[in-house]
């Protein structure tokens, strides 16, 4: 009986990418724990911090702080969206390194519209997010067009577009009247994503209306990819561009559309961070890094909607656990190491597969011999 479940497990690991991801995350935490022991600290501190982030319960003080849950969700939003951005392109066989640039374009657009757009309640922030998403999409779409039309490698193009986005953003934002070298004037209230109900529910956290858009994005991602005509053609293009083309699927269109949608997710992330986590526009001194971390998020999430959601929550959790870990005298860098290890383990997934496959084959061989 026991043997049976063991075989089931290795079969599961061979077939399911999700199972591998879970295994990889567990391995990442295991390594992190060992590392903390190695530097002579108590790993319990890390897990206490994690519990507090996930549930709001502080084990030492025995009290609930819901605010931490709110902060965790807030922190996770850009990770999830940038993961969706990377994942969507990856499903079409494209490697979108440009999440960061598309995020910056979205952020810049949102800041502009927040400061200069018409101050109509609700419509103001809503239009700002929509525009952020649209411009992020266009930024990605340009790369898709270059790829489809001139066969420019999307990897090179997106990296270059990241630089252009960052410096163009600085130049443009500094042109807004009242801006100094690092920030603009405060946004008008009509542009803020703050929501008193969400804040009350989460003990005064930064949790904002962006969360609704994240939810919609995850569902939309799943729906487009798995259920629609468009998704079918995109997936076909991603798996085998030549066969897709040969069957009459418009591959060029697929590539441009997918980069547009990918960019739109990242642009939305930029808009939500700009209007949800800040009360003023920023002149970016460097990358926020969400776009790059999004690559890792999509990897861990296997480019699926639900996987990317969970992976985004994981990365958000690690990131918001940092200050708590510091206070438990665990170096916060551990979280980056765990993130890094998870990504490395995911990258050697093929190797994992080979090992599991080899072991189960050996066992099957032996069983045949025993049976005879």
């Amino acid at each position: 009986m026991k043997k049976h479940t063991r075989r089931g497990l290795s079969a599961l690991l061979l077939e399911s990418d999700g199972a591998i991801s879970v295994l990889v995350v567990l391995l990442g935490f295991l390594s992190g724990t060992l590392l903390i022991l190695f530097v002579g600290r108590n790993p319990v501190g890390m897990y206490k911090a994690i519990v507090q982030v996930l549930t709001g319960y502080n084990i030492d003080r025995g009290r609930w702080y819901v605010r931490y849950v709110g902060e965790w969700l807030t922190q996770s939003m850009p990770f999830i969206l940038c993961g969706l951005s990377m994942g969507f392109a990856a499903r079409v066989g494209l490697f979108n390194i440009g999440g960061e640039g598309q995020y910056i374009v979205g952020l810049t657009t949102a800041q502009f519209f927040a400061l200069l757009g018409p101050r109509i309640p609700y419509l103001h922030w809503f239009a700002a997010l929509l525009l952020a998403s649209l411009c992020g999409g266009l930024w990605g779409g340009i790369v898709g067009w270059l790829k489809a039309r001139f066969e420019v490698s999307e990897v090179v193009a997106t990296i270059m577009m990241n630089y252009i986005a960052l410096y163009a953003s600085r130049i443009c934002i500094m042109r807004i009247p009242g801006t100094n070298t690092y920030k603009t004037l405060d946004y008008p209230v009509t542009a803020l994503l703050q929501n008193s109900v969400l804040q009350k529910m989460t003990g005064g956290s930064m949790l904002n209306l962006g969360i609704i858009f994240v939810g919609i994005s995850v569902v939309l991602y799943w729906f487009i990819i798995e259920k629609t005509r468009l998704g079918f053609s995109l997936r076909a293009t991603g798996f085998n561009k030549d066969a897709a083309r040969c069957s009459g699927i418009p591959v060029v269109k697929s590539i441009i559309i997918s980069m547009f949608i990918a960019g739109a997710f990242a642009g939305l992330a930029g808009g939500i961070v700009a209007l949800g986590s800040f009360k003023f526009g920023r002149v970016l001194a460097g990358n926020d890094g969400y776009g790059f971390t999004g690559i890792a998020v999509a990897l861990v999430g296997n480019n699926t909607a639900i996987g990317t959601l969970l992976a985004g929550l994981l990365f958000g959790m690690l990131s918001s656990a940092q200050p708590l870990m510091e206070s438990n005298s665990i170096p916060k860098e551990i979280t980056f190491i765990i993130q890094g290890l998870v990504v490395v383990f995911i990258a050697i997934r093929v190797g994992f597969r080979m090992i599991v496959g080899y072991i189960s084959k050996r066992r099957a061989d032996r069983e045949i011999i025993i049976h005879e």
Partner: protein, 515 residues
Amino acid sequence: MDSNVIEMSGITKRFPGVIANDNISFSVKENEVHALLGENGAGKSTLMSILFGSYDPDSGSIRIRGQEVNIKDPNTATALGIGMVHQHFKLVRNYTVTENIILGIETTDKFGVLDLRTAERRVEELSRMYGLQVNPKDKIEDISVGMQQRVEILKTLYRNANILILDEPSAVLTPQEIDELMEIIRRLKSEGKTIILITHKLKEIKAVAERCTVLRRGKCIGTVSVPDVTEQQLAEMMVGRTIRFDIDKAPPKIGKVVLELDSLNVRNSRGVQSVQNLSFSVHAGEILGLAGVDGNGQTELVYAISGMAPIESGTIKLNGIDISSLSIKERIHAGLGHIPEDRHTHGLILDFSIAENMVLKNYDATPYSSASGVLDFDKMRGHAAELIEQYDIRTGEGPGMKVKNMSGGNQQKVIIAREIALSPDVLIIAQPTRGLDVGAIEYIRKRIVEERDKGKAILLISFELDEIMNLCDRIAIISRGSIAGIFNAGEINEHQIGYMMAGSVQDSRSEDVLT
């Protein structure tokens, strides 16, 4: 002297779920050409991989010249004088012939500098001795596939092999090259080599082999003396039932012209003129076969008709309408079906399920897609289940099975089912049976004839003359991008076609006069 140079006895090899070799005994006499015959998956390659040291047998023993040996890796096999020419060549394309041959056993002088000159001389010598006509200084990328195969043979000879295993050597060759290969095999034998020929082509066995061992589903069916059996008998041993190579065909009921190409010119992706001034037409109810050596413009022609590559000039008319500037999709809607040459690259999306592959060309239309673009996967599965039943596709898991987990024959059936289900007026079929086993070939050919009888126009492109001769009502020969001639079936024999394929139209004409 009748001594056995190889004796493999009681060889058993299991892979998870299958017994690839089941207690097989196999022996080869000194200096004989011994054929190993069987369908795909019969266990030929496994048995030879065991002999060559690539696999460990689970049980059984191997004796080479009476000595019991343990061949634990290919190096041991090489040391025992066994050489193998694989079906897929293992050559470095931008190295010369000599560099490829000495790869792994390079001789160097005392400073560690490569001694190419000595090696080249030795390659030259061997090449002359066995009549291989290989220039040791040519780069692999500049020589033909047939020459590359000879380089592989030289590689084994250079390593002093006296037992040569040739794995499906004719699969990649033209009819003329196959004749030359047969000559080479005879030459190797006359120089004292022992040759094991893995194949499923009966003609070749009759041409060169003395004895033949037949495998079926991992079991040894028997060893026969080739002159004592007919091709038909060999085929029955291989498949285990009576099979028919010739297809019952009613005379064609030829209708109106459906596909008409007129002075078509196409350049390939490198700008080379690959189709030149090519004209022909295909009628409803007939199969037009396009015979030719690989690389004479067939691929580019198919690309041009299907819309995968632009044409330079000329017209492609389908039912009287010029489709040459339409998109691939529009051509499909106009009634063009296409079974591509390379099923993995162009025909299927291997990571998709059978159901998804079955609707690859019409997923976006009713009933599979609503007007708003939402797909109905139940309808797709239902459609696939019907075709699976109708075309006898062995899936194991039903419509949800990923195509990459299926056998080649069943994959090809998926494509054929999809294309025929769309009921196109004209069907372009390229290499429909390449790499498939006899059972699948028989089935697929029957289906093609059925479509003809339904009044479809069929253009069949094949590098296998047998297939062309068997199936087609008319035969067009393509050479260097142009049509060298079009004949009714029965008006021309294989040899004449072979000459025209090679581009020597004049020769074949003069031969006609002589005979």
